[in-house]
């Protein structure tokens, strides 16, 4: 009996499909590290590049909106991808995400995106909005397990009270984190009653840990937020594009709490100072009133005294004139008053200063 050949015979397309099924089953999502080569974008939609090392090179394909950080030839990256055999028999990687690998690549990618967004005006000073002085409703986007979140909450609670704080618990590290933060920003921006500020915080970490805050879509989402944003990521020395695009940048999560809320101890101290400043001012004003009244009274008294003096002088003058007109004074000066008819032999009365004399007229002659 002839042995039957049991090896299956595939059509080309079936073989490609089976290879793809096998790849999909065995390697649904792989990460590959290498250097970017032959990077190009077609029709502003499709991204093609090769990822290579010293001994090999694989073609990669992705869409523009999946490319969240700028890359260029020579940059070292880690891609997350699915391997695939195309219908033309070419092996390629369908890329889901790309992130720069190593400090040099991270810095290069950061600078490329920073320049791009800066040229669009996203970091312009005149875009910055002020935060409310005493917020009542705030939104926080962070991981509630993160140390930075605990620092923020502690300092915020120490400094101020009475606020409604909504917290979106998201990943702040890893490939899913950027999308989660973006969703949280969208969530708060769609609320019926908007929070007065969105605070995005994360504690310190490596450059790779913090690279999510350089994600282009996240940076654009912060820029597009209707609600003013406060970003406090990493340590004082860490720079991120999220920091640059935020309305207000805090150096750390703790600093974000200090910027966001007034200090109740300082506020109480200021109130006491304000109140304490009233009493001395009141006393000063009362003294000023008193002094002004005394001066007015003094001026009135002076006017009255002057008028009295004027009247006294006037009366004195009148008295002097009256004295001069008194007949007694004329008699005292040696004159005499004569009464009676001045005819010869008639009797007349002569009054002098000291006597009244009866006399007979002996002669009358004209002057």
């Amino acid at each position: 009996m002839e042995k039957q050949n049991l090896k299956p015979i595939f059509s080309v397309s079936d073989l490609i499909a089976i290879v793809n099924q096998t790849l999909e089953y065995s390697y649904p999502n792989i990460e590959v590290e290498g250097e970017v080569a032959s990077f190009k974008v077609n029709q502003e939609k499709f991204v093609f590049f090769d990822i290579k090392d010293a001994e090999g090179s694989i073609g990669c394909f992705m869409t523009v909106w999946q490319l969240r950080v700028p890359i260029e030839d020579g940059m070292k990256v880690i891609i997350s991808a699915s391997p695939k055999l195309t219908k033309w028999g070419k092996f390629s990687l369908t890329v889901k995400s790309v992130r720069p690998s190593g400090e040099g690549a991270l810095r290069k990618s950061f600078e490329l995106l920073k320049n791009k967004l800066d040229s669009e005006g996203l970091f312009a000073i005149d875009r910055k909005r002020q935060l409310p002085a005493m917020p009542q409703r705030i939104a926080v986007i962070s991981s509630i397990q993160a140390a930075g979140y605990a620092d923020f909450i502690k300092i915020m609670n120490d400094r101020w009270g009475g606020m409604k704080v909504d917290v979106a618990n998201v990943q702040v590290q890893g490939s899913a984190s950027a999308d989660q933060i973006i969703k949280a920003i969208d969530f708060f921006n769609q609320q019926e009653i908007l929070p007065e500020v969105i605070v995005i915080i994360r504690g310190g970490g490596s450059a790779d840990d913090l690279s999510v805050f350089n994600d282009e879509l996240l940076v654009r989402s912060i820029a597009a937020s209707r609600i003013p944003t406060l970003v406090g990521v990493g340590h004082e020395t860490d720079d991120s594009l999220a920091d640059l695009v935020a309305d207000v940048r805090a150096s750390t999560p703790s600093n974000a709490a200090q910027i966001l809320t007034p200090d109740k101890k300082e506020t109480i101290g200021s109130i006491h100072n304000q109140l304490g400043s009233i009493l001395p001012r009141m006393l000063l004003l009362i003294n000023q009133y008193k002094q002004a009244n005394q001066e007015t009274l003094k001026a009135v008294v002076e006017i009255i005294e002057m008028k009295i003096a004027d009247k006294a002088r006037h009366i004195s003058n009148i008295r002097s004139i009256l004295t001069q007109l008194n007949p007694e004074m004329i008699l005292a000066r040696g004159y005499a008053l004569v009464r009676g008819l001045v005819d010869i032999n008639s009797i007349i009365e002569i009054e002098t200063n000291k006597a009244i004399i009866k006399a007979e007229v002996k002669n009358v002659s004209n002057k």
Binding site: M134, D166, K183, F187, T267
Partner: protein, 68 residues
Amino acid sequence: MSATNKSIQEKTNELSKLVEWFDSDDFSLEEALEKYRIAEKLAIDIENDLSQLKNEIEIIKKKFDSDK
């Protein structure tokens, strides 16, 4: 909570206006004592509010994973 917190701001603004009044041309001795009493009460209220109020922190239940 929020309403009370707002009233802290209102009270603080009111206190500032009262303090300004003592420096303004509207100042009169007849009104000063009453205004001072109001300012003193406001200061006590604000201090009490600030000492007693707590923040209301709520973790949102919604998941922010990509498909939810």
